[in-house]
Symmetry: C2
Subunit: 202 residues, 2 copies
DNA sequence: TGCTTTTATGCACAGGTTGCAATTTCGCAA
DNA sequence: TTGCGAAATTGCAACCTGTGCATAAAAGCA
């Protein structure tokens, strides 16, 4: 399975990936054209689409993997494990998965994360991917928590993901470091678990 | 202020709006081109962009208004009103605002809502708009709840919106009526307020 | 009627994306 | 080594969204 052909394909893919991320970082996402990426990777523009289905797709490689990882965590619910604990574990799994996310040698992940927050088009794509997974995650929850109806499960997943995202987003917009953003995410989860009434209830 | 000119502008705008929504409903969003919309409204394709800044924009007319409405509700917090109650009022305001949302004679809102859930591109746009508002809403919350830090406020807003959205989405995907979706949204809010630990905690 | 400000339109173009066909490259077997 | 077939690469044409620019058409006003 490792002939000259396969190796060349991998090399070309990586060249496109590297070129894209580098150019995106240097001159911005919108300002970078597919023609430039292809030129930097020394292939024809048309060939780009043989490797990636769209410009955005370069930055959202293992999206399905992460969705599957979430489902796996849910399926592995410990007997008697409360919902909140399970979702916290899911969050940890997500973070770990993102860290391991190294199709490239150099660290693509931080660049991708920064771009994702900075570029509206990419943020939109990320949101969409996230939202698409949520009903599936909710359905998985229903299976391991038989007492949960689908709407409640959806609400739980939405509350969890929403709290996590916006808390992280606020922290990021306040100029927080990656650790700050992560901590904010955890704090968001806590709030989702304990309920909004545990906050400024006065 | 109501010369022939103004009236014609309104008429053209409405024609474009009607044509767009009708064509979107009949043949789908992606399958409808701006050229078709313009032809149906009997104007040149270029003119479409004099009335709407993009194809998506046709369906997201008063997005800023709704964001502002949320901020208004928050600013009008009753003394001692708990966070959950305030957010519930915000939801009611949103629903009422959507119902009053009748730039056109015929009911655009239901069609728009259905399209928004059905078409990925539109769902993405809706999510993005919603997400963009959330930090602002969180900041407004911070002002009327001085004991709230920004990250917690963000978590609260995210949890609220997320629960509301996904509960509604699940209900909609299960073939629920508009009322079902609304009820699911309310249930989602309740869950966000009481916390996930109030669910399948066993 | 003639002048001015909008409004509508046409034209050209950039960029993303797809389909198709031709061509190159590679793997493999004779 | 040669030649065949599959796979990869590429070029080309086309479509669609969106923008800038210049011009024509229309409407208000003097």
């Amino acid at each position: 399975m490792e002939g000259h052909r396969e190796r060349k394909k991998v090399r070309t893919r990586r060249a496109l990936l590297e070129a894209a991320v580098r150019l995106f970082s240097e001159q911005g996402y919108e300002q970078t054209t597919i023609a430039e990426i292809a030129a930097a990777a020394d292939v024809a523009p048309r060939t780009f689409f043989a490797y990636f289905s769209s410009k955005e797709d370069v930055l959202f490689l293992q999206a399905e993997d992460r969705g599957q990882a979430m489902l796996d965590v849910i399926a592995g619910r410990q007997p008697g494990e409360p919902l909140g604990a399970l979702l916290s574990r899911m969050f940890d799994g997500l973070v770990r998965g993102l860290a391991d996310d190294d199709e490239l040698d150099f660290a693509l992940s931080p660049l991708r994360a920064r771009l994702m927050f900075a570029e509206p088009a990419l943020r939109a794509r990320g949101l969409t991917l996230m939202m698409q997974e949520q009903p599936r995650v909710a359905a998985a929850l229903c299976e391991v928590y038989p007492e949960l109806d689908p709407v409640s499960a959806g609400a739980a997943v939405g509350s969890f993901m929403g709290a996590l995202s916006v808390a992280g987003l606020v922290a990021q917009q306040q100029g927080g470091s990656n650790e700050d953003v992560l901590a904010a995410g955890r704090r968001g989860i806590e709030i989702a678990i304990n309920g909004l009434s545990s906050l400024g209830g006065s």
